[in-house]
């Protein structure tokens, strides 16, 4: 379609290629790809850190790490890297690439701020990881509870913790700028006819996520600045030794970090809400309910933070218990919407759908085992044990990461013009699915049996040996599943099957332009009468528009 249309504008700003272009680009598509690639690199780094943890725990006894502080550095940086440098940014990357296309816009509202937001991330990553070569990375857990994170001999002396604080402030700033950019783009730059309730669900989830980021991240940023002052200038915010309050840190930290769970899950939910209808050849079941459920999760997400603090003895327990139970309701609504999208559909089992089904079945477990912790007395037993590790990985890996891979297989053809191999994709899915469950399911039993998190070693007679070994084997299976993925990307970029404009018979506007799209995204847009404009066009329900209204001066990528 787009390729046969007459060029409407002179190709004055044709793509420059090469390193200079990638370093200076303000094109949302290139920035989106930079986000995705950068995040995947940190995914591999975080994965290696996790393998270090799993190797040490494979058997009782300290075999792999002689320096116990290094073990604490490994799991601290694993959590930090995976959350702040992989999951959050890779979802921002998909948002960056897909949202302007899905709303028929030529770019984000603020292209240069967009580039700035991205380039803070590799810098922050280098800062965080440089702790390993400056006397030890941060080792107080990704939660960095005070006073352990304070500058004291048995706390967190040395620059690693300061680098952690600084890196997180940078990442937070990047998130805040990015969220403003998304909000303005979504509210101001939608194509004619694309009303709010015709927006693709991914756009809705990015919208709600941006509101969460905008409200929550400044709280974390100020807490981090206070921690920095405590550590370096004798502040007394969070250190009881100086009259501060240790539990206060937990309140402000989780006031950000619980909504952050939804920041890490909502866009992935949006991605599979794009994928399931396409491969079932049906519209999303209950579009409006889904939108309200997303907004409901966003709103309730701000009233549950203290469920991470049930054992502190400083929390009004019934309130946070009730809110935590309630947030299961909108999440359940979404689960049924997805299932009934598939119901009576005609399912094509391409790799994106497999990963999306992985999301459904694993996120279900992550939701159900979360309900155990909402029952406060049960949480007294489970808190800070491996049960929680199992729960959070079923949400963030079983949910978000499976969603991310669904998205990679789904949009790779749009980003590169070439398909990823289906065979290798399915091999990756099967190995990753088995490895994931082998790693994290046994952790439920370990937690129930009393194994605390964040211990470098355990007694050989505690009865935890077999389950730990299983988890370690599973960890290596997950690592193995990355190999076919990397090979797949490599082969497809060189000689993958050409994708064409619309390889999946998609519903949304990104499939109405070429693959990859031109710098200005669209030569022309179809009429928009529903949330599935490309579906309507394919089935003759609407006509292609003859010309694209001039989008004005923001349309051209500026350098």
């Amino acid at each position: 379609m787009a390729t046969t249309a007459p060029a409407l504008r002179p190709a004055a700003t044709s793509y420059r290629s090469g390193l200079y272009e990638w370093l200076t680009t303000t094109d949302h598509k290139k920035i989106g790809i930079l986000y995705v690639v950068n995040s995947l690199i940190f995914f591999f780094v975080g994965g290696l850190l996790a393998l270090g943890v799993r190797v040490e725990l494979a058997q009782p006894g300290l075999q792999f790490l002689s320096d116990e502080n290094l073990y604490n550095e490994l799991f601290t940086m694993h959590g930090t890297v995976m959350i702040f440098l992989f999951i959050i940014p890779i979802l921002v990357g998909f948002g960056n690439y897909v949202v302007p296309l899905q709303i028929g816009a030529p770019d984000m509202a603020f292209p240069r701020i967009n580039a700035l937001s991205f380039w803070m991330l590799p810098l922050a990553g280098i800062l965080l990881l440089s702790g390993f070569v400056t006397g030890g990375a941060a080792a107080a857990g990704w939660t960095s509870y005070s006073p352990l994170a304070q500058d004291r001999p048995l706390g967190s002396p040395g620059p690693g913790q300061d680098l952690w604080v600084t890196g997180l402030v940078l990442i937070g700033t990047s998130s805040i700028l990015g969220s403003i950019n998304f909000l303005v783009t979504i509210f101001k730059m939608r194509a004619p006819g694309l009303t709010l309730f015709r927006m693709p669900i991914l756009v809705w989830t990015v919208l709600v996520t941006s509101v969460l980021v905008l409200m929550a991240t400044p709280v974390l940023t100020s807490a981090l600045v206070m921690l920095f002052i405590d550590r370096n200038y004798g502040g007394s915010f969070f250190d009881p030794a100086n009259g501060g309050d240790a539990v206060l840190w937990q309140n402000v930290f989780w006031f950000y970090s619980h909504p952050a769970v939804y920041i890490m899950v909502l866009p992935a939910m949006g991605m599979i809400s794009e994928i399931l209808p396409v491969f079932a050849r049906k519209p999303l079941f209950g579009y409006k309910a889904f939108v309200f459920a997303t907004a409901g999760i966003g709103a309730l997400g701000f009233s549950v933070w203290a469920h991470h603090m049930f054992t502190t003895g400083s929390v009004y327990l019934p309130f946070f218990s009730l809110m935590t139970f309630l947030i299961a309701v909108p999440t359940g609504v979404k689960m049924f919407n997805w299932i009934f999208t598939l119901w009576r559909g005609k399912l094509t089992f391409s790799t994106p759908l497999l990963f999306a089904l992985g999301f459904l079945s694993m996120f279900l477990i992550g939701g159900i085992n979360g309900a155990f912790s909402a029952a406060v007395p049960v949480d007294f037993a489970l808190h800070d044990t491996y049960w929680v590790v199992a729960h959070l990985h079923y949400v963030l890996f079983g949910g978000s990461v499976f969603g991310v891979f669904a998205g990679i297989y789904y949009w790779f053809p749009k980003m590169t013009g070439r398909m990823l191999g289906e065979g290798l994709g399915k091999i990756q899915f099967v190995i990753m699915f088995i490895g994931f469950n082998l790693t994290f399911f046994p952790m439920h039993a370990l937690g129930i049996a009393g194994m605390p998190r964040r211990i470098a070693d355990y007694a050989g007679n505690a009865g935890w040996n077999d389950l730990n070994l299983a988890a370690t084997i599973g960890g290596f299976l997950i690592a193995a599943s990355i190999l076919p993925f990397v090979w797949n990307v490599f082969v497809s970029l060189r000689s993958g099957k050409p994708a064409g404009d619309d390889p999946w018979e998609g519903n949304t506007l990104e499939w109405a332009t070429s693959s990859p799209p031109p710098p200005y995204n669209f030569d022309h847009l179809p009429e928009i009468r529903s949330e599935r404009p490309v579906f309507d066009l394919r089935h003759g329900r609407t006509k292609p528009a003859a010309t694209l209204p001039d989008p004005g001066p923001v349309s051209q990528p500026t350098h």
């Binding site: 604490n72 006073p147 352990l148 001999p153 609504v333 007395p377 037993a381 099967v430 049996a449 605390p452």
Partner: protein, 368 residues
């Protein structure tokens, strides 16, 4: 991959499905045989733990039903609604169904409301604290030691137990008596966790010295058992070593133990010691980090721990390769002792605190 999909992995091919089904069945069987047992908590040793276990059972049953219904629905949908090869017709374009959507909003709301109410009831019982418990234990957490002080009716300490690096004293508790724990930390956050209690509570440092409090009663059936306890909140390099043992005793055994434990321990006689050197620890640091003693003769260190109560130290001696050749008993903050060591060959040794193995608590012992 080649551009034509291989038939072996063709979407919907019978072999792909058979493979997935086989793996699935294998997994389910393996997991199911062990899972149900492994997914239940150990027998609860306390009355409160038993209530938590009962609540867990209710939550587990509801969770299992929801899991099998929804997961089953997913699997059935996926198998039933595959697209047949060559089928290009669109399925019915259903946009929603108000009745169904209201149902799956209301029913889960009722389920979670029920769960909330029963967990609130259990919570009130588990959190109940009596004004006059039959026994009060004051717990001090420090990096990386537990101190358990047994208080009498007036709040005075009648006996004290210190467990440093998981070694030393025990937490003896009588069965059938309500025990109130009042806990605070002298440094970072710890958490008192006994898996068989199905319970943990944070042990916080606090500028106003407000303790965290809970109360529990060990079941009579557990008399004579030893239960594992451990710090559950990351507290630094020695976190994993912060273990302790709960010895459940009959009331009579406990009373005898308490009287015995309340006796002041008599320091071991120092015997024939040639040289005695002094060593002071203050704010988790040895004041002197260089000590000298003559070779070939026993020697002693007069050790004064000037840290606050609850922060024990010791003075172990190690070879350059890290082997411990003298393993000493910790001394609590505010106390002092004399450690007697056997004769050493000339050379340089390391003396260090085994509870705080950091540079500030490591020194060089020169033997010549």
């Amino acid at each position: 991959m080649s551009s034509t999909p291989r038939t072996r992995f063709a979407p919907g091919s019978i072999w792909t499905w058979l493979l997935i089904a086989l793996i699935g069945v294998g997994l389910v069987l393996t997991v199911a045989t062990n899972a149900v047992d492994a997914l239940f908590p150990p027998a609860a040793a306390t009355a409160q733990g038993q209530e938590i276990r009962d609540l867990y059972t209710v939550v587990f049953i509801i969770a299992a039903v929801i899991f099998f219904v929804v997961e089953g629905l997913i699997v059935w949908t996926v198998i039933r609604y595959r697209r047949k090869p060559g089928d290009d017709e669109l399925p019915p374009q259903t946009h929603g169904n108000n009745l169904a959507e209201i149902t799956w909003t209301v029913v889960p709301t009722l389920i979670v409301a029920f769960l909330f109410v029963i967990s609130w009831q259990t919570l009130n019982n588990v959190e109940a604290v009596s004004a006059e418990p039959e026994l009060t234990v004051d717990v001090t957490g420090s990096q990386f030691a537990w101190t358990f002080d047994y208080l009498d009716g007036s709040g005075a300490t009648v006996a004290s137990q210190t467990v440093a690096n998981g070694e030393g004293g025990i937490l003896a508790l009588p069965v059938g008596r309500s025990v109130q724990f009042r806990m605070h930390s002298v440094d970072v956050i710890h958490a008192f966790y006994v898996p068989a209690f199905l319970f943990k509570r944070d042990v916080n440092p606090d500028a106003q010295n407000r303790p965290t409090v809970f109360e529990t009663t060990i079941d009579e059936a557990f008399a004579g058992q030893v239960l594992r306890g451990q710090c559950a909140e990351l507290c630094g390099i020695g976190h994993r070593k912060m273990t302790f043992e709960v010895h459940a005793m009959t009331a009579a055994e406990f009373d005898a133990w308490l009287e015995d434990a309340g006796q002041e321990p008599t320091p071991a006689p120092s015997g024939d010691v040639g040289t005695t050197v002094e060593l002071v620890a203050r704010e988790i640091e040895y004041v002197d980090k260089e000590l000298e003693v003559p070779a070939g003769a026993p020697f002693a260190i007069d050790f004064v721990n000037e840290d606050v109560a609850g922060v024990p130290h010791d003075v172990d001696i190690r070879l350059a390769d890290g082997t411990t050749i003298a393993d000493t008993q910790p001394v609590d903050g505010g106390a002092s002792t004399t450690y007697v060591y056997g004769a050493l060959d000339p050379g340089e040794y390391t003396f260090m605190c085994s509870i705080h193995p950091i540079p500030a608590m490591t020194g060089t012992l020169t033997v010549q």
